[in-house]
């Protein structure tokens, strides 16, 4: 049976380094399988977060040969195995141990976004009517599995650590799903411009590239939101009206 070597980052926020593990591999294996095999046979206390192993829960995010990816959806036959495969934790979040990071910031950010507020029901039985074509774009955003790979790759968070001023691609997609929901009546445009820092995004599309659900984050979510912000706050005519009203 063939074998391959994996260079896995081990340690805590204070200290750590890469350790090499060589293990047997078989046809169809994904990176997470190799990590599990190493964990079961060579490093019982190796910390790795995972759940479904089918690309549906978004738990096993890591950087494989430098690329933010889901370990469960990265097949070994897509990687060059003549040299060690590096596996390291995401960089935008504080490290807990080995491959596991503290992603709790994301949960706090989401809580601060105004929740869904539907219009009154369309039908006396309390239900609504929406056409499929009107929900298609929202359904694209709702495919998000919250793996936070887009947050990991985004330079505003990764390099500039603007976590207090910028909510990141994941939550622009979340806001877009709410703002474009046919039933929603809330307005989140002002907070997008002010507290959520959408202006920091300079549409490099890195987030779109790493999205395992192939959500067109930049084109379909962020740019339309930026346009709404511009319409509302930077439209010269509206600006004039606002000034006159004051």
């Amino acid at each position: 049976m063939a074998s391959a070597t994996f260079s896995i980052w081990r340690g805590t926020a204070e200290q750590g380094k890469f350790f090499n593990y060589t293990t047997e591999i078989s046809e169809g294996m994904v990176v997470l399988d190799a990590v599990h095999k190493i964990q079961a046979e060579q490093a019982n206390d190796l910390a790795v977060r995972w759940n479904c192993k089918a690309g549906k829960c978004g738990s096993c995010s890591a950087e494989i040969n430098g690329m933010p990816r889901l370990m469960c959806m990265t097949r070994l036959n897509q990687l060059p195995l003549e040299r060690p495969v590096t596996i390291e934790p995401m960089k935008s979040f504080p490290l807990i141990k080995d491959l596991v990071t503290d992603v709790s910031w994301n949960f706090r950010v989401k809580k601060q976004i105004k929740q869904f507020k539907p219009r009154p029901p369309d039908v006396p039985d309390g239900s609504w009517r929406m056409q499929q074509e009107d929900v298609d774009r929202v359904q694209e955003f709702r495919k998000c599995i919250e793996c936070f790979l887009c947050q990991d790759v985004c330079h505003v968070l990764r390099e500039h650590h603007k976590h207090e001023e910028f909510i990141g691609p994941r939550f622009f997609v979340y806001v877009a799903a709410l703002e474009m929901h046919p039933l929603d009546m809330e307005n989140r445009v002002e907070e997008l411009a002010k507290a959520k820092g959408i202006g920091y995004c300079n549409i490099t599309k890195c987030c779109t590239k790493v999205c395992p659900e192939s959500i067109t984050i930049t084109d379909n979510a962020i740019i339309p939101l930026k346009e709404r912000v511009v319409d509302e706050f930077y439209d010269p005519i509206k600006r004039l009206f606002r000034r006159l009203r004051r």
């Binding site: 805590t12 078989s26 046809e27 169809g28 294996m29 994904v30 399988d33 964990q39 079961a40 046979e41 019982n44 206390d45 190796l46 910390a47 790795v48 977060r49 995972w50 759940n51 479904c52 192993k53 089918a54 690309g55 549906k56 829960c57 978004g58 738990s59 959806m73 097949r75 807990i96 141990k97 080995d98 596991v100 503290d102 992603v103 709790s104 949960f107 989401k110 809580k111 929740q115 869904f116 539907p118 309390g126 239900s127 609504w128 009517r129 929406m130 056409q131 499929q132 929900v135 929202v138 359904q139 709702r142 495919k143 599995i145 919250e146 709410l178 929901h181 039933l183 929603d184």
Partner: protein
């Protein structure tokens, strides 16, 4: 002893999948304080993997559907071992629960009229599954999560509960640890809801994630609660079988609902060869009729691929055993053939089954729009669980409630696809409501600190053994061996001698688990976590095996080669396991109360 982090909640919900979240939302809406414990991160629970849809008689696609038909379908699917009152409540309340999700922001696929679209599924007479492509579970958990976080629920992520705490007969809290730092946590609560899901990790080939180690089942059992129907384990007929590393991953029944057909290596649609008598009049007798059904023709009868899961799984096993399987030991599930019937079939398939398309493309290099999938049965669900009161979801232990897969009663001997998501909503909501009511009516109990200290000590013992010696039992090895034995000896087809062997093996594993050793420290130590999950897996494995021995017949998800037929006498009772005075597992039979006349009449009418 070390200090514990202490938390006080009126209601503590253990488990944050569909049922746990729904219970937490309801309890919190009733005005009590709620703590929600998740074993993983919020929103990652196994519900996220549900694909097909939520069964509810909304009647948006076929107005002939109503709660009575749904009730009768559920009872027939469960081979009449269901707690009929739960089946009745479920059928009546599911539509409201689905509408509620929409009010909280869920975006279901739509009918041409703009209402919630419903799809066909096995065992359901009419199109009944509200869905979002094949990612309905994600939509459901995200909707509940996003709604729940604004309700003031205290969420404890990545925590595992080791034991429930009792004051005399009543449950008054729980004790566990946080997985990230390994610190012990003490929860004081007036009522506890278990919503921990299933037991899939007791088997080798399973669609379930690592979290499914039967925690709730074992916590309740150890606290003195009854478990019921544990012999009924559902093997989903279609799991991936190749490549080996993805074996077990689910292939949604939605594939068959959209017109996918099962063929053996000879190309034969073998499901036409064996249609059970009870379903014959509702099942198509030719391929054309089956296709028309999938296209929404209300006059057509359903194709045999949409018979109940237990039956389809056994037919697949038969084909494989008799040498008509594919190159990797499965049968073929083909959706690509619909290109003969509709234009733009590849786009249609990608739109209707996007996750399946990606799953096969990415993990198996198979394009399902052109090539059949090779599939085989995978352990998917346990019908059995904590015995609860049908109205309130309270277990046989006061103050302890259960909902979702770890509960029991709705599904009887076999669950219909789609009925689990609606189960989570209907009974999660009820568990939350009645747990809140219980919390309001009862003062806080007192916690026995000696008991807590001894649980903490036991939990740390594997480390002590790890430092004493390097040549000790590792947790993963025991878990893998147990999974292999359960698969082999208490799987789809069971016999008395094999189950006796299984009990002997489980006894040996229990002994080894008491000697398990781990290394490293308490911070995010997966080896330690696995060691602490082991006793739960062993408890549920024993419960499954003992219950399966007791039922000397074949029914629903329980098939015995030595008793291959259904036996009327065994249809009169449910099998219960409970902890005896000497900590031994006792198996008892409990008679099923007679069906009220009006429900009996509904079942008879629907059989026509």
């Amino acid at each position: 002893m070390p200090e514990y982090q202490k938390f006080e909640h009126d209601v503590l919900v253990i488990g944050a999948g569909g049922a746990g979240l729904r219970a937490a939302i309801e309890a919190s809406a009733a005005g009590v304080t709620v703590g929600l414990v998740c074993k993983s991160l919020l929103g990652k629970a196994h519900t996220v993997m549900a694909e097909g849809g939520i069964a509810a008689a909304l009647g948006t696609v076929n107005s002939a559907d109503n709660w009575k038909v749904h009730f009768a379908d559920t009872m027939r699917g469960g081979q009449y071992l269901n707690v009929w009152r739960m089946a009745e409540i479920h059928a009546k309340e599911a539509p409201t629960c689905v509408r509620e999700l929409e009010a909280w922001g869920a975006v279901f696929d739509r009918t041409p009229e703009g209402d919630i679209l419903q799809r066909n599924f096995g065992g359901h007479r009419y199109p009944r599954l509200a869905h979002v492509g094949d990612r309905t579970g994600l939509e459901m958990i995200r909707t509940l999560q996003d709604h729940g976080v604004h309700q003031g629920i205290d969420v404890h992520m990545e925590c595992t509960i080791l034991s429930l705490l009792k004051d005399a007969d009543r449950v008054v809290g729980a004790f566990g640890y946080d997985r990230q730092r390994g610190r012990f946590l003490l929860f004081h609560a007036r009522a506890v809801v278990l919503a921990t899901g299933g037991v899939g990790r007791a088997y080798k080939i399973t669609s379930n994630s690592w979290e499914y180690t039967g925690d709730g089942h074992a916590l309740a059992y150890n606290a003195g609660a009854d478990l019921m129907d544990m012999e009924f384990v559902q093997f989903h007929p279609t799991g991936m079988i190749w490549p080996p590393s993805v074996a077990g991953i689910l292939v949604t029944e939605g594939v068959r609902g959209e017109g996918g057909v099962l063929r053996n290596s000879k190309g034969r649609r073998f499901m036409f060869d064996d249609i059970p008598e009870a379903y014959r009049h509702q099942t198509a007798d030719n391929e054309e009729e089956g296709w028309k059904y999938c296209q929404g023709d209300k006059q057509a009868r359903r194709p045999p691929e949409l018979l109940t899961r237990d039956h389809v799984a056994r037919c697949i096993v038969r084909e494989i055993k008799e040498g008509r399987g594919g190159p990797h030991g499965g049968v073929f599930l083909d959706i690509s053939w619909i290109k003969e019937k509709i234009p733009n079939a590849p786009d249609h398939i990608k739109k209707k089954l996007p996750s399946m398309y990606h799953q096969f493309k990415q993990l198996a290099d198979v394009d399902i729009t052109t090539t059949p999938m090779e599939v085989g049965p995978t352990m998917h669900y346990i019908m059995g669980g904590i015995r609860v009161h049908p109205e309130t979801q309270m277990s046989t232990v006061p103050g302890l409630f259960a909902a979702g897969e770890c509960g029991c009663g709705l599904h009887g001997a076999n669950r219909l696809g789609g009925n689990s998501l609606s189960d989570l909503l209907v009974f999660g909501k009820r568990a939350g409501k009645f747990a809140a009511a219980f919390a309001k009516e009862h003062p806080a109990g007192s916690i026995n600190t000696d008991q807590v200290d001894s649980i903490a000590r036991r939990a740390l013992e594997p480390f002590e053994r790890g430092t004493r010696s390097t040549d000790t039992q590792g947790p993963y090895q025991i878990q893998h061996e147990l999974q292999a034995k359960m698969q082999e000896l208490v799987g789809i087809v069971r016999t008395e001698p094999e189950m006796l062997m299984a009990l002997e093996e489980i006894g040996k594993f229990q002994k080894r688990a008491r000697e398990v050793a781990v290394h490293g420290n308490r911070e995010y130590n997966s080896g330690w976590h696995t060691a602490l999950d082991l006793p739960n897996l062993l408890t549920v494995s024993e419960a499954i095996t003992r219950s399966a021995r007791e039922r000397r017949e074949s029914r629903g998800g329980h098939f015995r080669e030595d008793y291959p037929n259904k036996d009327k006498a065994f249809g009169e009772f449910n099998v219960i396991v409970r902890r005896g005075p000497a900590a031994e597992m006792k198996v008892v039979r409990e008679n099923i109360p007679p069906l009220p006349a009006e429900l009996k009449q509904i079942i008879e009418e629907q059989q026509k």
